[in-house]
């Protein structure tokens, strides 16, 4: 490629990066400022580094540890169960050719399109007495992520050759060892992508906690930001600090799993 062609591309690339980074930098730098400096809302460095005081104020004003705990419980179990249930279901649906599994594939498609009907879902959750419980919310997250995740697993399952199944069975494996011992590990790239995507979805979700975990003791972090902003909207330094706190865990998880994402999204051409 010609040299100046490359240069132009590099410049475009840098502009794109800037476009994305500026708002992020804006939040980070203003989280470090005092209330008055943050109210100016510019990109300058803080003259009065106030980050730790801001953290202290946020912890005092909002029940951060409790919200952290709530969000963590719900995310951890949601993600774990989504991975297990969806990969299992995809395994059966993809491997087993029957009218039933064909019907299921169509049901999954519908599931992708159907919006979550909050009011009637509320009714169902209430019927089981699970409003404002972690259990209820975890079940809802499983249900709402089921279609997409199973679909994703099915498309990757295509890339895992059936010969492996046969070999394992000849070796005497039962259905659980077949799946958990052989197939599941081969789905690693997908698992990593599902892990980060589902974690992201659940950790950041606003609507389900808004309807189903809406008492102060059970607020999740998304709700906390929103409520906090509603009450202390003018203390921008505190608002931005809260945003950073809430985003930190998912960012860390992302950095850890980053390299799997691109490879995981590739339509699994798993070489045997």
């Amino acid at each position: 490629m010609k040299k100046w062609n490359k240069l132009i591309l590099e410049i475009i690339s840098i502009i794109a990066v800037l476009f994305v980074s500026v708002p992020i930098y804006f939040v980070v730098v203003n989280a470090m400022k005092t209330k008055t400096e943050a109210a100016d809302m510019n990109l300058r460095f803080p003259t009065d580094w106030n980050f730790f005081q801001n953290m202290k104020d946020v912890f005092a004003a909002a029940a951060i540890p409790q919200a952290f705990y709530n969000t963590f419980i719900v995310t951890f179990f949601g993600v774990a169960l989504v991975i297990i249930f969806c990969s299992l279901s995809a395994f059966v649906i993809q491997r087993r050719d029957s009218r039933f599994t064909k019907v299921l594939t169509n049901v999954l498609l519908i599931g992708l399109i159907l919006p979550m009907m909050m009011i009637t879902t509320y009714y169902v959750v209430d019927f089981f007495g699970l409003i404002r419980t972690y259990t209820g919310v975890v079940l809802l997250f499983i249900a709402s992520n089921f279609a997409f995740t199973t679909y994703l697993y099915i498309s990757f399952m295509h890339g895992v050759p059936r010969e492996l199944d046969e070999a394992a069975i000849i070796d005497g494996a039962g259905k659980f060892r077949l799946f958990f011992g052989i197939i599941f590990p081969l789905l690693l790239p997908v698992n990593a992508s599902v892990l980060i995507l589902t974690s992201m979805n659940i950790w950041n979700d606003f609507t389900i906690p808004f309807y189903f975990l809406n008492s102060a003791k059970t607020y999740t972090l998304s709700l906390l930001i929103y409520m906090f902003f509603g009450q202390k909207g003018s203390d921008w330094n505190l608002v931005f600090t809260t945003i950073l706190l809430v985003s930190a865990p998912v960012i860390l998880l992302y950095m850890f799993l980053q390299r799997y994402i691109v490879s995981g999204m590739t339509s699994g051409a798993v070489k045997s």
């Binding site: 279901s89 299921l104 159907l114 590739t266």
Partner: protein, 289 residues
């Protein structure tokens, strides 16, 4: 065909059961309640036929919500796809900044929507917001609008935030597909004298169709079903200027008119279904070419 016991239906049961009870079943229930006067205490006193739908239709604010939703879905999908593809192509070149490009651009995807919305509320403020301050500083004061409070541009302002947040996602999907295009074919075409445009049009693009399909459908569905970002940025306001179907659902729910809210949700389902079926047909026709 391997023995069926290894692909036992029992393995499906837990996931499928939860999916059915907590997702499929409530959706089907709503098909009934949309035709009743379900109230805030979940009581039904009578069957009202299509009354809820007529009420929704007769309220001009809801028509606006419908228009806004379509506009939003269209714009965000268009830009997410075009920009995502362009950036993926860029990130696939042998340039120095490609690693940074990939990781930084995906970053907004993992942030909480509410957090992003609140940050942009600060950025969009008409007098103290960074965007307007910047525009004024470089002499483009006339472009410094009231982004979230001017009804004629508020939906565009919200769309921009969505595009900012999610383009990294479409980019990553496109990138993955691009990387699976075998190099030897490209090189062979290069040797044969094909121009970069020809290489793109006849080799790369056909391989991108499945991913394009996925991206478009996901974008459209997400755009039509939007709630969080609109609610957190403007609450549907000012007034009702930025209301979308799901904020109309929420409003009816808040007023205790759950039958009406369910009806609005049902309307949304029909719209999304129609959109997906249409798009599927359209894109698959392209695919056969």
């Amino acid at each position: 065909m391997l023995k069926k016991q290894f692909y036992s239906y029992w393995l499906l049961v837990p996931g499928l059961l939860i999916f059915a009870i907590f997702f499929i079943f409530p959706s089907l229930m709503s098909f009934y309640f949309a035709f009743t006067n379900l109230n805030g205490a979940f009581e039904v006193t009578r069957f009202v036929g299509f009354e809820n739908f007529i009420t929704l239709y007769e309220n001009p604010d809801n028509i606006l919500a419908l228009k806004n939703t379509f506009l939003y879905a269209f714009i965000t999908t268009l830009f997410k796809i075009v920009l995502g593809l362009a950036l993926a192509l860029l990130a696939n070149q042998a340039i120095k900044s490609k690693i940074v490009l990939r990781s930084v651009l995906f970053f907004p995807v993992i942030l909480s929507t509410v957090a992003v919305a609140i940050a942009f509320r600060a950025l969009y403020h008409p007098s103290t917001g960074l965007i307007n301050v910047f525009l004024k500083a470089i002499g483009l004061e006339s472009l410094a609008k009231s982004w979230l409070t001017d009804p004629s541009i508020v939906m565009y302002a919200i769309s921009f935030v969505e595009i900012w947040k999610w383009t990294g996602f479409t980019m990553v999907l496109f990138l993955a597909a691009l990387q699976s295009v075998p190099n030897d074919i490209i090189e062979a075409a290069e040797i044969d004298g094909a121009t970069p445009w020809q290489r793109f049009r006849f080799i790369t693009m056909p391989m991108l169709i499945p991913v394009l399909n996925t991206n478009v459908i996901l974008s459209v569905i997400g755009g039509l079903k939007v709630f969080d970002i609109v609610y957190a940025l403007t609450g549907g306001g000012p007034g009702n200027a930025s209301s979308v179907i799901n904020t109309a659902v929420f409003k009816a729910y808040a007023a205790g008119r759950n039958g009406e809210a369910t009806a609005a949700n049902l309307v949304l389902f029909v719209i999304v279904l129609a959109a997906v079926l249409l798009l599927n047909k359209f894109i698959n026709r392209e695919n056969r070419g």
